[in-house]
């Protein structure tokens, strides 16, 4: 559905995207994840025909983004990062003009507008001027405009940015309902959003794709080493020193200290530390109150890949 090949974009001397290649299959929800300035927005602007690539090519819905830009724009719904809207228009007017400018016939767009108003929960603000809407409602209007013509592909640039947790959940639920019939490419720097809403995640850093896979696969393959959360009845300083001397332990950090109890986090490269820890505790007469292997989150993977 989306095929990107060696796409590169430079702004003067700044390299925003560096020979990026990826593909999105029909029906997939793909998240572009990356820190601010990684090149996510540039990528989406190029796919929507707003910016030209410096090098490389891309096809969206089987149309070239440069040579067949109009055909591409007919088939996509786009929500820009800043969600710019015509403030002077009322919600209904804004949707009506979008439909007309998209070339929809009045007999077709009246029903389509009613549908998106329902889907995006805009019933209570239909007659209000956009200038008087809250951030959450404005985001919904932007989303409604993007899905009004029932596009095959949705390109959403940080769709939940600036929303409160309830509104974020609502937008995510809306994306989930849309994903059954559409291909969605969304950018975000909210990791939980990528984890819950996306089938696949592309981590982009300094204009390059540094990871590509499902959130679970990325966690498993890219998380280096193991972590063990340990709660002991032992003197904190002694426990820290002794545990640090165990073979394979790379780092010991005291998480909590209360009376005779201490909670530490052990990190190792590859070794499973549980047996060694158990034997040490028996030898030192330190009762183990808790020993839990910790899994790496997508956040840890993200930090590993994007912290220079």
């Amino acid at each position: 559905m989306i095929n990107v090949s060696q796409l590169t974009k430079t702004y003067g001397a700044t390299l925003a995207l560096d020979h990026v290649t990826f593909a999105v299959q029909p029906g997939e929800v793909v998240g572009l994840l990356g820190p601010n300035g990684a090149g996510k927005t540039t990528m989406l602007k190029m796919l929507t025909g707003y910016l030209p690539p410096t090098e490389g090519s891309a096809r969206v819905a089987n149309f070239d983004i440069l040579d067949q830009s109009l055909a591409v724009r007919q088939r996509i719904g786009y929500l820009p990062e800043t969600n710019p809207l015509y403030e002077d228009l009322a919600v209904y007017e804004s949707l009506e003009w979008t439909a007309r400018l998209r070339g929809m016939a009045p007999s077709m767009y009246a029903g389509a507008i009613r549908k998106v108003i329902g889907e995006c929960g805009l019933d209570s603000v239909v007659g209000k001027d956009i200038a008087h809407l809250s951030k959450g409602f404005r985001q919904r209007v932007g989303l409604a405009q993007a899905i009004l013509h029932d596009p095959e592909i949705l390109i959403l640039d940080e769709p939940t940015s600036g929303l409160d947790p309830n509104q974020q959940l609502e937008v995510r639920q809306l994306i989930q309902t849309l994903k059954q019939k559409k291909t969605v490419l969304l950018s975000t720097h909210i990791l939980s959003e990528a984890q819950t809403a996306c089938d696949r995640v592309l981590i982009i850093h300094k204009g390059k794709i540094v990871a590509d896979g499902t959130p679970d696969l990325l966690r498993q393959t890219l998380s280096k080493g193991q972590r063990l959360l340990l709660e002991l009845k032992a003197p904190a300083a002694d426990a820290r020193e002794t545990l640090a001397r165990l073979p394979g332990v790379e780092r010991v950090s005291v998480q909590k200290e209360s009376g005779a109890q201490v909670t530490v986090m052990l990190e190792s490269a590859e070794t499973d530390l549980r047996e060694a820890v158990f034997e040490l505790a028996v030898q030192k007469h330190w009762p183990i109150l808790q020993m839990t292997p910790e899994t790496f989150s997508l956040e840890d993977v993200f930090r590993q890949l994007t912290i220079s």
């Binding site: 910016l51 109009l70 724009r73 800043t82 710019p84 809207l85 002077d88 400018l101 998209r102 070339g103």
Partner: protein, 238 residues
């Protein structure tokens, strides 16, 4: 280029301009000034002509038209809505023409309000209908040219005030050229006078329909619309 998106966009822009309070302020000021200019000498000179209304009109248009067009692109760039507009299935040339037609439509409405003056002339005297038609053709040509300049100036910047100043300055430059031409040596004088608006405006306003004048207005309008399109494309593609 397709006609439909141009007219849909033009209608949207026109509705938005009509809904803006600033448009009414500009319209009221324009009609008050013109009304006063038309009425006050009419009875003093006892002549049924539009001269007193027509003569200062180019100067009034140098202010009025950039004021009406200053928002057209600058506001889109400032608020970022150009990104929405440019990612809809509309060509850049359709965007420029849609906005241009909207500006012309609004100016047309204002000029239509002044049709009351020739009607008055028919009541109080016997004006020459050919001259009146020529006068209004001349007004429309001037408005079309200045609207293209105003739109071009608006595409320059995100700031409406700067767009107005640039638009006014360029319109005023064309207004001044005939006057400046008097101080220039022979060859330059003819060239600069040919570039100025006054000669072409006066000829048409007298009812003299010359293809050279029509070509002047058409080529000037086309030049600034093409320049506007180039700026819009270059801003997007930077």
């Amino acid at each position: 280029m397709r006609k439909r998106p141009v007219f849909v966009l033009a209608r949207k822009e026109l509705v938005m301009m009509i809904n803006a309070p600033a448009t009414y302020v500009i319209a009221v000021v324009f009609l008050l000034i013109n009304g006063w200019l038309f009425v006050s000498p009419l009875f003093q000179m006892n002549q049924s002509t539009l001269d007193s209304f027509l003569r200062p009109l180019p100067l009034i248009f140098t202010f009025l038209i950039p004021a009406l067009t200053m928002r057209a692109f600058s506001e889109e760039f400032k608020s970022g809505t150009i990104e929405v507009l440019a990612t809809l299935p509309i060509e850049d040339v359709e965007i420029v023409l849609g906005k241009y037609l909207a500006a012309l439509g609004l100016i047309g409405m204002l000029v239509a309000c002044t049709l009351f003056y020739p009607l008055v002339l028919f009541f109080v005297g016997r004006p020459d209908p050919g001259q009146l038609i020529g006068a209004y053709v001349s007004i429309v040509c001037l408005a079309a040219f200045f609207a293209a300049i105003g739109l071009w100036a608006s595409a320059f910047t995100r700031n409406q005030v700067v767009a107005f100043i640039v638009g006014f300055f360029v319109c005023f430059l064309f207004f001044l050229m005939d006057r400046v031409a008097d101080f220039l040596p022979g060859v330059f004088s003819g060239f600069v006078r040919g570039l100025g608006i006054e000669t072409h405006f006066d000829a048409l306003a007298r009812g003299v329909l010359d293809t050279r004048d029509l070509l002047y207005w058409a080529s000037g309008t086309f030049f600034f619309l093409a320049a506007c399109l180039t700026i819009v494309q270059s801003k997007k593609w930077r």
